[in-house]
């Protein structure tokens, strides 16, 4: 792989992994999708370096994170508002820059948000497992030998497409909250993140009191939350009668109610089936926003209709399409780096 270049992990913490957009379609084999928690940020970072949206990048959850790049490549950082230092230059997030071999890239703890994403032109070229390069930490395959990144590890880069010297040396794009007017407020500073939810099969089994509490409470994201699921802390929710269910298939976004009465939300490494009552489902278009809520912060649910969920999805697709248009101009220098 030396002809294609590599990156070396210089400093890392727990749970930093190689992720792409996941391996859908294998739940019948008990294989979850895995993939970037904030798939929008990874897709955008890929577009900013001229990659297809599904190329593998690095999901950074624990900071500081440092790598050294051993090739002349374009890189981009998106997601959390992490201070992104390239050589001795500090850049804002949602920037793309061309770097020289030997450059060190450092992510400092973010001021807002939870997860940063690094894309490199050509992508992280670890072997594909079952059609994806995402790390499945539970089963231990995909990514870098199925594990979180370790200091000193070298990751191969794919061969880059196109001419690296074309385009602006350095450009930024507007972060996603500026692009989606339908989207409820994001957590900035001490705010609460509002996420859009469709009621699910057992929503009607909540007592009146519990239903009101579910929709009006501010739920704190427990510190034991992870890529498998988020645990929420708030008023205990009760059902009209205890329900013990045999497992149904479940997906990222499903909000379940275990006997403790404290809801759980399945995330990217979700189990493929589960038996707790399902009271709601975070819409697909808001999973990336949930991925950026910091542990200990609060979220609130707002009910939407199926039509609203689909409109939100269209809005997300349109935002990505706009980023694709902008970046393709910037990468060929047919547009200005202002956005």
């Amino acid at each position: 792989m030396s002809d294609s270049g590599s990156i070396e992990v210089v400093e890392t913490g727990l749970l930093n992994t190689v992720q792409d957009l996941g391996r859908p379609g294998l739940r019948k084999f008990g294989v979850g999708s895995a993939g970037a928690m904030d798939g929008f940020a990874l897709a955008a970072a890929n577009l900013m370096v001229g990659n297809p949206i599904g190329a593998a990048g690095i999901e950074v959850t624990t900071f500081p994170f440092r790598i050294r790049i051993n090739a002349r490549r374009r890189i981009a950082a998106t997601g959390a508002d992490a201070r992104f230092v390239v050589g001795d230059q500090m850049l804002p997030p949602w920037w793309s820059i061309r770097v020289e071999p030997g450059t060190e890239i450092r992510f400092e703890a973010p001021r807002h948000g939870m997860r940063g994403y690094l894309a490199v032109a050509g992508g992280i070229a670890v072997a594909e497992v079952l059609g994806s390069r995402s790390t499945d930490l539970k089963a231990g395959f995909g990514g870098a030998d199925g594990r979180m990144l370790e200091r000193g590890q070298s990751l191969p880069l794919g061969s880059r497409e196109g001419d690296c010297s074309a385009g602006w040396d350095c450009f930024g794009i507007a972060p996603p909250e500026k692009r989606m007017p339908l989207m409820p407020p994001l957590d900035v500073g001490d705010g609460t993140t509002v996420v859009r939810v469709l009621p699910a099969a057992e929503h009607g089994e909540l007592t009146d009191e519990a239903r009101t509490a579910f929709w009006t409470s501010e739920w704190q994201l427990s510190t034991s939350s992870n890529r498998v699921g988020y645990r929420l802390v708030g008023p205990a929710l009760r059902l009209h009668r205890p329900i013990e269910l045999l497992s149904h298939g479940i997906l990222p976004g499903v909000i379940q109610l275990p006997p403790s009465g404290q809801p759980m939300i399945q995330m990217s490494d979700a189990n493929t089936c589960g038996g707790y009552p399902k009271i709601g489902l975070v819409i697909g278009a808001d999973l990336w926003r949930l991925a950026q809520v910091r542990l200990g912060r609060r979220i609130r649910f707002v009910e939407v209709s199926l039509a609203q969920a689909l409109a939100a999805r269209d809005e997300l697709d349109a935002a990505l399409a706009a980023i694709r248009r902008t970046t393709s101009r910037l990468l060929t220098k047919t547009g200005w780096p202002a956005n």
Partner: protein, 243 residues
């Protein structure tokens, strides 16, 4: 039959709420019908079919199809597909019951007033039905455990159940494909890998609808087969009962 929405990306077709071969037959009937029809225009956008004991979850890409229309098509198909019962594969899977590979066997035998040999005999004379794969990649939930062997989970789960342990809990039987925490009772171990990420078409050895019998093996054969599996020399075909 109920059609339950799972957000904007999936439907769950629920046939009932029991563990029951007849109910599961309807799940398999719908699964079969969908697998046959998946190339048809009305199923474009379907990305995954997840069978469970009593339901089938159909995941779709909402940008590739109309979810509401798909739901109606599924409802009609589920009513028509009825109790069609498809033929699963029949497996004979070797299991070694040596004490160090079966840490809960003696306790279970004692609790049930049986000898160790009687427990093994019951296990190896039973045909188990694979209801679903889930919890972790390749993990089979199997029914058919004789009532004489039913026991609840351990009150304190193990931190690390060894990979390929044969395990029982309640009326269910399973094999842990991976080392993982777990509260099921461990009665033996197979040398056969339950999951192969290199097998793109069928990474899980077992599938919903398959039938499984255990074949008791001596430690020497266990060691040989384990070594063969480690170098990729254990064919899945050799475990299938033909005809």
């Amino acid at each position: 039959m109920r059609l339950l929405p799972l957000g904007d990306t999936a439907w769950t077709v629920e046939f009932g709420d029991r563990v029951d071969p007849a109910l599961h037959g309807r799940v398999l009937g719908l699964l079969d019908a969908l697998e046959k029809a998946k190339a048809d225009e009305e199923f474009v956008g379907v990305v995954d079919l997840v069978p469970t004991f009593r339901s089938l979850t159909v995941c779709y890409d909402p940008s590739a199809c109309d979810g509401a229309r798909l739901g109606e098509t599924l409802r009609n198909l589920a009513e028509k597909a009825g109790a069609a019962r498809r033929e699963g594969r029949h497996w004979h899977i070797p299991v070694c019951f040596d004490d160090d590979l079966a840490p809960d066997l003696a306790d279970l035998a004692q609790a049930k007033g049986l000898t160790r040999e009687a427990v093994i005999d019951l296990l190896t004379r039973t045909t188990f039905q694979v209801y679903m794969i889930g919890f972790m990649p390749g993990f089979p939930y199997m029914g058919g455990l004789p009532a004489e062997l039913e026991m609840p989970r351990l009150s304190t789960p193990r931190q690390a159940v060894p990979a390929r342990s044969l395990a029982v809990a309640g009326a269910m039987c399973a094999i842990y494909p991976w080392e993982s925490p777990g509260g099921w009772r461990l009665l033996g171990r197979t040398p056969v890998p339950l999951f192969s990420a290199q097998n793109e078409a069928s990474p899980s050895l077992l599938a919903s609808g398959d039938e499984v019998r255990w074949r008791a093996i001596a430690r020497s054969e266990f060691t040989e087969l384990e070594a063969a599996a480690a170098r990729g020399g254990l064919s899945r075909d050799s475990l299938l009962v033909k005809g």
